[in-house]
């Protein structure tokens, strides 16, 4: 090393020391608590003075965009003293930028944060979003929104427990994973829409024997199989067990016989050739598009495909909840809400922010949502659905949320579960691992997290 090199090394070292000024994260506002402003909640938005609210949302697609801009316009008209500065980004962009924005000095007032531990959970832990319990009482959200809906946006104040505790966000729309079927094809095959799992098994077998693709799956993105598994898991496992697994609460086990049985069922479907060829290399979007063109009989997917499938297939496509194990039994399936809206701890006028959230989740707002083809999270059955498929989906969601049959997305369990679940199910469906090994891999992820 010659002299110049040594000088530059020294310079680098000095630079490093300058950088090393403080502990990362220490410039955050740690003193601020998320104490619920129960005592001093004001609900009269007209008397809050002039306020500008910065709102970050991800309602960018067709019907979502329309309902949001309609509601904002109505809100500003009703309360001229409150201006909404809206920043909307796609879901992916929002996920990437929200963390930075929240830790910045001019954080937005209202944000649409994903329910997951990796997002909302982290914000709760860092005290960057405030508890909405006070507002829930004042506005009556706690009676309008059923427990199963509120629980998916609830955390303990330290962010450790998911699924109970304080309410941190209010969702607008609902989501349910169920079964789309090609009604025309079913009629041709002489199959009735299955009312029990036994009937479903028979329907799949009949479809296969008559040369159809019984089940359409596109799993290159890894996560779609998680929804498929959720449905099959609901056939065997108990709701409270799945909830514990999904919320990452201790006391359940992935290696329990019910879950292994669900995994075995999936593998047996692969063995019987029920899926389209090469599903692990197939695009999710291409898969449902192919279904919409008449390939395949059943598609296990979420309510979010309703508008697109209905446009493509008109009356030929129908939706139903997964069948119960026995006729008349209780159905359990994956579902939840769209991204909930939360109030940041940096919001200057939390009351105004709450008034905004109340406005966009009010009964009138639910109608606006439905009119624009979205699935309202509450009062679903009171809305007039856009078409036949819409009627199916609205009905299914209303029925299952009333019956408390919704269980959380399995990848919510731990920060790493999305990836573990996706990769493990790809392994399982490609028969790289046995059902027992696959469930053990999920158990390891779950156990490591809940043991903390």
């Amino acid at each position: 090393m010659n002299r110049t090199q040594r000088t530059s090394m020294a310079l680098l070292a000095v630079g490093a020391l300058t950088v090393a000024g403080c502990t990362p994260g220490s410039n955050g506002d740690d003193t601020k608590t998320s104490a619920p402003p129960t005592a001093s909640v004001t609900t009269d938005a007209a008397k809050m003075g002039n306020v500008t609210l910065t709102v970050w949302d991800q309602e960018v697609r067709g019907g979502q965009q329309k309902q949001m801009s309609t509601l904002i316009a109505q809100f500003e008209k009703t309360y001229p003293n409150i201006k909404i500065k809206r920043v909307s980004r796609s879901f992916d962009d929002l996920t990437k930028t929200l963390r930075l924005a929240m830790s910045g000095n001019d954080a937005p007032d209202v944000v649409q944060a994903n329910n997951t531990r990796s997002q909302m959970g982290e914000f709760v832990k860092a005290k960057q979003v405030i508890s909405l319990d006070g507002y829930a009482k004042a506005y009556g959200w706690d009676t309008r929104y059923p427990t199963s809906v509120r629980s998916v946006a609830s955390y303990s104040p330290d962010g450790k427990t998911f699924g109970s505790g304080s309410l941190y966000g209010m969702p607008q729309v609902g989501e349910v994973v169920g079964v789309y079927y090609n009604a025309k094809r079913l009629t041709e095959l002489g199959i009735q829409p299955p009312k029990t799992w036994a009937a479903m098994d028979a329907a799949l077998a009949t479809a296969k024997s008559k040369g159809q693709i019984p089940l359409v799956l596109g799993n290159v993105e890894k996560w779609p199989a998680g929804h498929l598994f959720g449905i099959v898991q609901g056939r065997y496992a108990k709701a409270d067990q799945i909830r514990k697994l999904g919320f990452g609460q201790a006391g359940a086990s992935w290696t329990a016989p019910d879950n292994v049985k669900a995994a075995q069922t999936l593998v047996s479907w692969v063995d019987k050739g029920y899926f389209n060829k090469g599903f692990n290399g197939q695009d999710y979007d291409q898969a449902w598009q192919s279904f919409s063109k008449g390939n395949g009989v059943f598609l296990f997917a979420g309510s979010w495909l309703q508008a697109d499938l209905s446009t493509a297939m008109k009356g030929d496509v129908r939706f139903m909840l997964p069948p119960p194990s026995e006729a008349g039994g209780k159905t359990i399936t994956t579902g939840g809400t769209g991204l909930p809206f939360a109030i940041t701890s940096k919001a200057k006028k939390p009351d105004a922010a709450a008034a905004y959230i109340n406005f966009i989740t009010s009964p009138a707002a639910m109608k606006v949502l439905a009119d624009n083809g979205n699935l309202p999270v509450v009062e679903t059955s009171k809305q007039s659905p856009p078409d036949t498929l819409g009627k199916d989906v609205f009905g299914a969601f209303g029925q299952i949320s009333q019956a408390d049959g919704l269980v959380p997305y399995l990848d919510w369990a731990t920060p790493t579960m999305g990836d573990t679940l996706g990769a493990t199910l790809q392994d399982l469906l490609a028969k790289k691992v046995t059902p027992e090994k696959a469930m053990a891999a999920l158990q390891k992820d779950y156990q490591e997290f809940t043991a903390k």
């Binding site: 630079g15 994260g25 963390r99 599903f279 692990n280 197939q282 695009d283 192919s290 996706g422 990769a423």
Partner: protein, 297 residues
């Protein structure tokens, strides 16, 4: 009346010279050095990006080398290097040699065509190839049409072929760049060398190894540096095609950086992977330029 400057012969650089470098250095320091140092600094902490961090020293580095999955991601990057750097070099050498020798009409047209992949955004390329590789995509249709039905598969979901399939996209992407670089190098070789070789009785193959290849060593070094770096830092391609799947068969370090930082909130560990990756890229490109320099001297 003596000049103030005392030491050194005329023309010897003076301290004032640093002043000229300063503006460029300031920009470089602000946008490259500072972030780099910050990343190195962050790599010693366990930080979720939001709350107060805890000092873990070299713990994150132990994780990078100890975690089977992270280690595997570096292995995948090495495999991709073969597809991104070695294969394009071979393809490029052959293509460039042929184009150079054959004196094709409309050479600039061909040059543009082979270079075209470089102009298209990687995301677009990834989406296009994903369609190509899909179970009902063109590749499988062609295979079926020529009677190789048993070979058809969902390429990106296949445990054996997913990584090579992604690699081939890289080969297709980089070959044009390498070809154009080599063509430029070959065009500078003096005619006389070829004439001399021919008088000595060399055929086209001999001519290639005796004259063409040694003359473009510098270009080969440049091409290898560029493509190797591209291979090691590839992210968009993986993100858009396989998300690291099936299982974990195609994850690469930069994809892990993204996953750790943005999905899991392990900013410290993400920085560590980034730092290790930077070090590896630095060492490899240093070695390549060293070798390239030595042979051109």
């Amino acid at each position: 009346m003596s000049r103030t400057r005392t030491a050194g012969p005329p023309g010897e650089p003076r301290r004032v010279g640093y002043l000229y470098v300063l503006p460029a250095f300031a920009v470089y320091a602000a946008f490259a050095l500072y972030p780099l140092l910050k990343a190195v600094y962050l790599s010693f902490w366990d930080w979720d990006g939001l709350t107060l961090a805890t000092w873990v020293g070299l713990g994150n580095y132990a994780d990078v080398f100890g975690d089977e999955r992270l280690r595997a991601s570096f292995g995948h990057a090495l495999v991709l290097m073969a597809f991104f750097a070695v294969l394009p070099l071979l393809v490029g050498l052959v293509l460039a040699a042929v184009l150079h020798r054959a004196k094709v009409r409309g050479l600039s047209f061909f040059r543009t065509v082979v270079f075209l992949p470089q102009v298209v955004a990687m995301v677009v390329i990834a989406v296009a190839w994903r369609r190509l590789y899909s179970p009902d995509g063109s590749l499988n249709s062609v295979l079926s049409a020529i009677g190789l039905d048993s070979w058809t598969r969902g390429w990106l979901g296949d445990y054996t072929f997913a990584l090579p399939a992604v690699g081939v996209i890289g080969t297709w992407f980089e070959s044009g760049l390498v070809t154009v670089l080599l063509l430029a190098g070959m065009s500078r070789i003096p005619r006389e060398l070829y004439e001399a070789a021919r008088i000595d009785g060399a055929g086209p193959v001999r001519e290639f190894f005796a004259v063409t290849l040694p003359s473009v060593r510098g270009e080969i070094a440049v091409a290898l540096t560029l493509t190797v770096i591209a291979a090691l830092k590839t992210f968009d391609l993986i993100y858009m095609t396989t998300s690291g799947g099936p299982g974990h068969e195609t994850t690469v370090p930069s994809y892990e950086v993204y996953r750790q930082a943005f999905e899991l909130g392990h900013v410290g560990l993400a920085s560590t992977i980034g730092v290790v990756l930077t070090a590896i890229i630095f060492v490899i490109s240093f070695a390549i330029t060293r070798i390239g320099d030595r042979v051109t001297d």
